[in-house]
């Protein structure tokens, strides 16, 4: 079992009436009214410090991701963050998990292959290469990619990146979206034939096929917990079986929001407002923006119209206890969190590569470190051996970091 700390880098101080005053947290929130560059600089530094803290506390990996024009999570270039993390963790057995640079908006997409190769070289072969499709808000609305071409562009870019990493000869790429006469990547990644690849998805059935066909780790980045993800992940595992692959749990990744405190009651007291901030403000986006016409292929469109899986619940009407009850967030004492994570997420969905979001919405820096520290000490050690006895190999993890290792003692008192 590999457990990574995920970060969104959100705006932590949105006004209390944000979701009433503004149309959306994404695409259209007015910078001049809502943010200050010096303060945002502080957010970036907190984010890096928090992920480095997690790395030292014994997490297996640290994850960054890419989003644009929003207050929900604004690392437009995850590789800038990844570069800092790679350099600063060179003495640690920690993977740099880029979840990652959005492929369809990179022009040309070999840029992702280059930057990831740089990160792999800098980190000494510790990169996990997330190759995301990107959200419709980022790709279609902010970066102008035609919804109907989004997936096709992605697939071409994916094939180009793979070939750029692995080809021994210089080659010409005569694609529909990219034409390059001499592809000759400098540098190449340390990990051969290429770094492990994770493909994040949000339950689109065409992505299941793609993930299995390309032998990547399919990661469901969910904010609605394991209960509502069950049907979707079962769908993925069905595709895995149907295509004759083994049931290696490391084929699957999952993102879960987690908050830990000494007791369940203390967790509510400490984290309730930050969880509600996240669901009420950070996810404040018109539903239709998640799915511009053409973004889903016809098959997926029909399937989702007939069995709507997302947005059935209006999160704005829910409060902390609802989020916990539904499993959107797993929160409570270490014992509660251990049990729910193991039963609902790890075993329930058959997940080998778990990502946990421990800085949530408005959660301040100190409280984030406290959450990470407690998780690392009280939860992580019991989860790590979960799949140990079944003998699976995590092909989707940097080879040099695959062996189980004992976490270093908590660095909590070193960060003052």
């Amino acid at each position: 079992m590999k457990i990574s700390a995920f970060h969104l880098m959100p705006h932590r101080e949105l006004p209390a009436d944000f979701e009433k005053r503004y149309e959306s947290v994404w695409v259209t929130p007015p910078w001049w009214e809502l943010a200050d560059p010096a303060r945002v600089g502080q957010y970036y530094n907190w984010t890096l410090d928090e992920l480095l803290f997690a790395a030292r506390a014994g997490f297996d990996g640290v994850c960054t991701n890419e989003h644009h024009q929003n207050a929900y999570g604004f690392m437009p270039s995850p590789n800038i963050m990844g570069a800092v993390l790679a350099k600063a963790t060179n003495d640690l057995p920690v993977a740099v998990v880029q979840m990652g640079a959005t492929l369809p908006t990179q022009n040309p997409p070999v840029r992702v292959a280059e930057e990831y190769a740089m990160l792999d070289c800098i980190s000494g072969g510790r990169l996990v290469a997330g190759l995301p499709l990107g959200s419709p808000m980022d790709v279609n609305l902010c970066y102008g990619i035609t919804p109907m071409e989004h997936r096709e562009r992605y697939r071409e870019a994916f094939a180009l990146v793979m070939k750029a990493w692995t080809a021994r000869e210089i080659f010409a790429w005569n694609g529909k979206y990219t034409q390059l006469a001499n592809v000759n990547l400098w540098p190449r990644p340390i990990q051969q034939p290429h770094p492990p690849v994770w493909v994040p998805g949000s339950g689109s059935i065409s992505t299941f096929d793609f993930a299995v066909d390309n032998e990547v780790c399919y990661c469901f980045l969910s904010y609605s917990g394991a209960k509502s993800a069950k049907g979707m992940m079962d769908g993925y595992w069905n595709v895995v079986t149907k295509k004759g692959r083994d049931a290696n749990p490391y084929r699957a990744g999952f993102l879960q929001l987690v908050t830990v405190a000494e007791t369940d009651a203390k967790a509510e007291e400490l984290y309730a407002k930050h969880v509600e901030y996240f669901y009420h403000k950070c996810l404040h986006v018109p539903a239709v923006w998640f799915s511009p016409p053409g973004n889903q292929d016809y098959r997926s469109l029909e399937a989702s119209a007939r069995t709507p899986m997302r947005f059935a619940v209006n999160a704005k009407e829910l409060r902390y206890r609802d989020f916990v009850e539904k499993g959107y967030v797993i929160s409570g004492s270490p014992a509660t969190v251990r049990q729910r994570l193991q039963e609902e997420v790890v075993k329930g969905l058959r997940v080998g590569n778990l990502m946990v979001l421990l800085q949530i919405g408005s959660m301040p820096h100190e409280l984030t470190l406290q959450n990470m520290d407690l998780f690392a000490r009280e939860v992580l050690p019991s989860l790590r051996p979960v799949w140990e006895n079944e003998g699976w190999v995590n092909h989707w993890w940097p080879e040099k970091l695959r062996a189980r290792f004992e976490p270093t003692p908590s660095p909590r008192n070193r960060v003052a």
């Binding site: 279609n140 609305l141 102008g144 990619i145 035609t146 919804p147 109907m148 071409e149 096709e152 529909k176 018109p286 539903a287 239709v288 923006w289 511009p292 016409p293 053409g294 973004n295 292929d297 016809y298 469109l301 029909e302 119209a305 007939r306």
Partner: protein
Amino acid sequence: MSDLNGTSARTVSVWQDQVRLRILSKGKGPGVFFFHGPWGLHWDPFLDALARDFTVHAPEHPGTTPGAPDDITHLDNLWDLVLCYDELLDSLGIESAAMVGHSFGAMVACELAAANPRRAGRLALIDPIGLWLDDTPVTNWMMLSAGEMPGRIFHDPASAGAKLLFPSPADDDARISAQVGLTWAMGSTGKFIWPIPDKGLKKRLHRVKAPTLLIWGAEDRIAPPVYAEEFARRIPGARIESVKGAGHAPQLEQPAVVADRVREFLRP
């Protein structure tokens, strides 16, 4: 399908048999081509009125023909789309025809008339898109919620025309099919105009030689009437007819008025 309304339907394959286009035809008299807008083809009272004097042929935009949604993947860009329609006209043996278009379909008619001016006999454009003014952006209807759409497209979202475009069938299956059809029609047409519906038509409009009538809903809030002036300025001799009590789809909200103007304009 219930909206065939006494039309005859045939499906023509073009683009090396990769793109199937169904054409609904009705009426008698000289042929007129109708290119529908971004919400798909519905045989409406306006087309019926037109069919009294003309034989109206209405092709479905690639991807929107039932049973052939993925055919749209074979057309990469506007140039492919224009050639696809060129092949369609060839395969029907039509050298030149009057063309009527609505919104996105009116843009397609302009592109055809600009690419091959001999193809278009007369051109009746109903609230065409295809130009862009920074001060008056065209609304991206693809980003409107189902609830917002009727109010934005129509002057009166309760009108019969609005109901034709946005039916609310009681039965679940029909409702879902209508919703899927509408979304796919927007996606398949949107492929050629995202994210800004200006793909260079301004550089090509001067090639249009056909006598042109511009019909514009006075209350159009998708492409406001200022765009009528822009089109008129660029198409030699174009005339503007404003239609009161209509938004972006005047032929649906004021079918009799629009049909009268178009018939009068097309009459030989």
